[in-house]
Amino acid sequence: MTVLEEVVRDDWGRLLALLVARFGRLDLAEDALADAVEAAARTWPADGVPANPAAWLLTAARRRALDRLRAEAVAARRVPVLAVEAELAQEAQRTMADSGEVLVDERLRLVLLCAHPSLSREAAAALTLRLVMGVTTEDVARLFLVPTPTMAARLTRARKRLAGARFELPPPDALPGRVTFVEDVAYLAFTAGYAPGSGADVLRADVAGEALRLVAVLRSVLPAGLPERDQAELDALLALMLLQHSRRDARVRDGALVLLPDQDRGLWRHDEVAEAVELLQPWVHAPPSPYLLQALVAAEHAIAPSPGETAWERIVQRYDELLDLVDSPVVRLNRAVAVAEASGPQAGLAALSGVALPGHRLPAVRAELLARLGRYDEARTAYDAALAMCGNDAERAHLLTRRAETDAG
């Protein structure tokens, strides 16, 4: 990674937040910063990297924004402006005058602006990745499996929707609600990278990693004193993402999807597992909440030395608690898988009865359990049902392999 790539990765959101605070306009701030990065890519290789790269970018972006404002004043264009308190704008200006030695961190405002309740979760997720994390439009498009021009148009609509929104911190009692929305948006972006949609792309883990980093940033810029349950959920979400992300190298072998029991556990990132377990430690006996329970399930897998040593009874128990909080067909399906591991395929099948879920996952699980019971004809029928509804190449290949094995059995 070049110095410039590193600065963009680490400081994009911080710099953009400052520019938004100073100029009150997302479009202007974003264009100016993009121009500054482009200028840096042109000049740094020849002139050498400046002593303070982030400050260099900020100064270049500020000049560029001022130039644009002058040009616009001539054109007398009216542009919607974000509501920024005068004090904040002044502070941002002061920071820039200090040549950016000390960067005040306004990223929380930026996060809350992008993950704005007036946007759909999908639009908010895309915009947050683009503006706070500096992920390119092309990569955001790849993550959500849409063509780049489609994503560019979606981002433009989202930005327009935010014109006139407030670049501010909500009152303390409203903050947890807004944080919950950011969490949902981040997790949506994260799972988009791991849930194979249609087509040949097995996973887009690198971009999903940016959603993980977003939660880490959110955690670092939030003021202390979040209510305990909200703090637990935030820590648990970060842990959940770390645990899932830690398996990225083991999830694919020769282009094919490798499911949890068959993964080479030596390929898991054990430093990330350790970090997640540490995050969860204080909350193990906390009152149950959705992300916490999911993270605790993921942790059970992570700490099991081998698939056979997984504490399935404890996992079933966690799913029972989760069902009490959120009764959804997906939770029931996952619980049935755990029941099958803890008490055998017959019990798993029983747990599946009454689960209503369209798509290929339900018949795929049923097929697997039927095959384990030696009911091969029924298993093949269920595999065929799953195959007929599965649009992802990697998962199809897996189902076809399993189906062929029932022929041999």
């Binding site: 009454g354 209503a356 065929d384 007929a388």
Partner: protein, 124 residues
Amino acid sequence: MTGVTTYAVLLPGDESVWEAASPEERAATYARHEEFSRLLAERGHTIVGGAELTHSRTAKVVRSNGSGAVVSDGPYAEAVEQLSGFYLVQSDDLDDLLQLCGLLAGDDGGVEVRATIDHEGDPS
């Protein structure tokens, strides 16, 4: 390929029946869809698209009032039966497809099959 047509398999239904259905009844319905999908694949038809739709009360209708587009809430037409989902199926055997669609016809509604028009061969 000649003779292959893409059909829209439309699933109108009484939404109140679906809303009142028990988890077991819903599971049974999805099971019929699994069976439908499986048999289509087995008999050489290809599902190329489709979706289950949200309740028609969440629908938006866009109409032109002469000076511009107006968005209103609710379905296009007030009716007991509303479109609840659809499949797009490529098939070269409409009779067989219709027979399989019988699986999806139930107390809450029938199935409407319409061939789509392929403009590929139109003179340009």
